[in-house]
Symmetry: C2
Subunit: 536 residues, 2 copies
């Protein structure tokens, strides 16, 4: 009896997240799976006469289960990554040079888009369409400002939008005009939509190309897998890449509730697909957001900008309609993943899932609430009791903290983003990024969960009692995300039989100062035992 | 460098269908794939120090690539397999005993269905409802006669159908009645629909259970894979079995053109799934059948039973609608599989596929015509030129021969079921059964392609110039079917890297008298290197 070994990883500082053997120094991998973890001599003995084809010396790097992001909009992010990155550029000419370069490699007539320009960095001069016309006369150009409140376009873009001196103003926006009344090429707030609505939707080829370019960037941050909320074109693009053998990131696709009638008609079931790409839960939008004070709350927002004292946010779906559609999804063999930001939305999500568990579901399906930014104390305990996954994005806690205190007030903010309380309660917790709303980088997510501060920010933690240990934070991005996909028997731990999805970090982030976590280099990312990123 | 081996198969008479090494004696298998084929000593050397976990001595049996049926209705067949099999029973009491036994193990109130009873075998006495009432008073019973023109039901079935002495007769049918005018329980022809319409559709659990029971029967005939035309419930049942690890038959699912809008809406692509279950082409129905003289022909049917001299059959889809839907399917990333029986239908199918190849498809998609029972000489050559798959069911040639000569006449029949001519032309040919219309058994299909006679029939071959060699027939059920699924790089030959799907036969059907082919025992069926049927 013998055992083929494809790869031995040794000289590694391994955190297995497997209770049977929490630490190891070496691994043996065959056919994309881990076949053994142990000391160097354990693995050497296993190897024996039967020399492995390949070995990887990690030179002491720290190896953890492959990072897995439980909440992305991957195709959307990929498309944004294709746009010109103008953030931090402190000279107007530099921006124009980048536009000129981009125009040279882009087919004439195609839109050039970019984002992140900041006129404050070059002396507060408003740019105009003529500047863009000089460097890109034959491409429509639309560049979003850093704060996303200004759109800078060229003459061709204005022309395609049918925007002239005669165009009336838009409620809640402004078409900036020169002394003669001609649009200058700067559109403010709601006026931006005049141009946005004429920019064509990307083709499937463009989405496919964008995802292909974005994959290495995801692996560079240590990611081996994502859950991604996709529309039909994004899902199709992922399938095309998979069919060509180009998909190196395990991707659980969540389609929106728009898909239910079609999934029903076809008889599709959650899980259909393969180990690289498969259908996961159905995504619902139950309420709005904290930032826009549209999250569904039991008590009114504080400091509501419209001076209302009774703004409890809103449900984006009628509760009865939500229940009806949730039932359809579950009857069709899909779990549900429900966007809930406010405590009232969380209550409804929990109520409906528990009702479905009683009335419809044998318990086979995994149901989850996304974001879970604030819940009442009594509801917090229901995640554990009913095995409902809390799918959270730790970076939100750090970017939202001031907004949370402003609109929820201190007492309510104290029960927001309660990752520690959820873990103590025994809730299944999965972590993700919500990219492109936040950075895709899971190291930033781990740092946020551990520190509850923004990088480089000299402030105390946001409710420090909710800070996690490094191990707890990583577990959310590994086992937790795998569990949310119903996939914890093959991913999320380093143990025999598990898929060989692994992330190696240059430093041991369990012991380095927490501020170093976000910059800790990833040295190797492996998916199914194959390196998809290597920088040893 | 070493190589794990899971299984060595030796002492086998192997036909590899791989031109590099057509014959072998032994195989090495690892991880579900063939890693080597050769002489016993070749494989022994490969094995070396590294003893395989398992060996299988085939005792001289003949091993061929796993049989693959390119045209089944597997879920439908599975459901029929659940019904009482009454064919050949020569005593009325024996039929009643079987119904009584079945009633004992079936929940009260559930329908008991059966088929194949033949009153000629028990002396021509018409049975009646009272006989069934005695053995199954609390189950509605519906038993179809062998010729499918009579339905024998019990009183409960009549009651559920609302069928009484007052029910008016049905056009083209007869409700048999006794002297008092009461229905006797025998319904003829169109009157059968009065009961059929009240029999509930099977639940997904029933379909799932039926498929699970049918899988061993498929493997017993040597099948390792099928293409199956399914509706939503059948597809869902296959997915449920796959999710439970119970699907042992590789299944390429063809959904009907009803699915196109849903596939488009979701962005699903052909090929989505895994190596056991995946989405294949979209199935269209273009014309009728030979037996009902509804196949679309260029020239009228001979001897049309309605005494028309201008019956050229019919298109079941408007040609423009067919083209429009075919274009939608292909734009959505699906090849098309088109039911064409008549030569006019074949022409339209070829025309539209070639047009789509020019206008839409990069050549990546595999398109196919199903049945291809008669084509004009000039159209026959287009399959090869345009790489359009002719997906044929050799058993049809032998069961249809008299009908073909009657309704097409001798000259046209001479260009029907032209498997030899198609192969000579270079056409890609795939073979299947059309189960449950014909037996699922591929040995019967191979025999039909080779002999062009029915089993046990003492007649010359039906146009003997179209008879195939055994190797050609097997190739249609192996490589040909794999090619039709776009899957010839991993299935259909015995060669390193191919999936270890294999069928072992007790005799060498390449040399046995052809009449022995249908009864040649299958001794082993392997899927992915694992035995799914074993009778050594």
């Amino acid at each position: 009896m013998s055992q083929k070994i494809d790869l031995i990883i040794h000289n590694a500082n391994i955190y297995t997240f497997d209770s049977g053997q929490p630490r190891a120094e070496a691994l043996a991998i065959a056919d994309g799976r881990i076949i053994a973890a142990g000391s160097v001599s354990d693995i050497r003995d296993l190897d024996g006469a039967n020399a492995a084809r390949d070995t990887l010396d990690l030179k002491g790097a720290t190896l953890i289960p492959g990072l897995n992001d439980s909440h992305t909009h991957f195709a959307w992010w990929s498309l944004i990554m294709q746009e010109l990155k103008l953030a931090g550029i402190n000279k107007l000419n530099k921006v124009l040079d980048l536009v000129a370069e981009s125009a040279e490699v882009t087919p004439v007539g195609a839109w050039l888009q970019g984002q992140g320009w900041d006129k404050n960095l070059w002396g507060d001069e408003f740019p105009n369409r003529m500047m863009l016309d000089r460097v890109a006369p034959r491409h429509p150009v639309a560049l979003m400002s850093k704060d996303a409140h200004l759109l800078w376009v060229n003459s061709l873009a204005l022309q395609l939008a049918g925007l002239t001196r005669d165009t009336p103003e838009v409620e809640g926006g402004e078409i900036t005009r020169d002394a003669q009344g001609e649009p200058t090429g700067i559109l403010k707030e709601n006026a931006m939509s005049l141009v946005h609505r004429v920019i064509p939707e990307p083709t499937i080829e463009q989405v496919e190309a964008a995802i292909e370019m974005a994959l290495p960037e995801a692996h560079r941050t240590g990611l081996t897998a994502v859950h991604s909320i996709e529309d039909a074109i994004g899902f199709a693009a992922f399938q095309n890449l998979r069919a060509q053998g180009k998909l190196s990131l395990r991707t659980a696709v969540l389609l929106g509730n728009w898909a239910i009638p079609h999934l029903q008609a076809l008889g599709l079931r959650q899980g259909f697909g393969d180990e690289m790409l498969w259908l996961a839960q159905i995504k619902f939008f139950l309420d709005g957001t904290l930032g826009s004070q549209t999250a569904a709350m039991f008590e009114p927002f504080d400091n509501s900008p419209d001076h209302r004292h009774d703004n409890c946010g809103m449900f984006r779906m009628d509760p009865e309609d939500f229940e009806r559609q949730a039932r359809q999804a579950i009857r069709s063999g899909f779990g549900i993943a429900v966007h809930v930001i406010g405590d009232h939305a969380a209550r409804l999500g929990l109520d409906v899932i528990e009702k479905m568990q009683r009335e419809e579901d044998s318990g086979r399906l995994r149901n989850r609430l996304e974001h879970v930014q604030i819940v009442t104390p009594q509801d917090l305990l229901r995640f554990a009791a009913s095995r409902i996954i809390a799918s959270c994005q730790p970076t939100h806690a750090t970017t939202d903290r001031d907004v949370a205190e402003r609109y929820w007030g201190y007492e309510r903010a104290a029960r927001s983003y309660q990752y520690r309380a959820l873990l103590y309660s025994g809730a299944p917790v999965a972590f993700g990024s919500d990219v492109p709303v936040e950075s895709i980088d899971p190291r930033k997510g781990i740092f946020a969960a551990v520190s509850r501060r923004r990088e480089g920010e000299n402030r105390p933690a946001f409710f420090a009692q909710e800070c996690l240990t490094v191990g707890e934070a990583i577990r959310g991005f590994t086992y937790g995300a795998a569990y949310a996909a119903g996939d914890e028997r093959r991913r999320g731990r380093i143990a025999p039989g598990m898929l060989a999805d692994l992330t190696a970090l240059a430093q041991d982030i369990f012991v380095t100062p927490e501020d170093e976590i976000p910059q800790t280099p990833v040295v190797v990312t492996l998916v199914g035992g194959s390196p998809v990123y290597l920088s040893l």
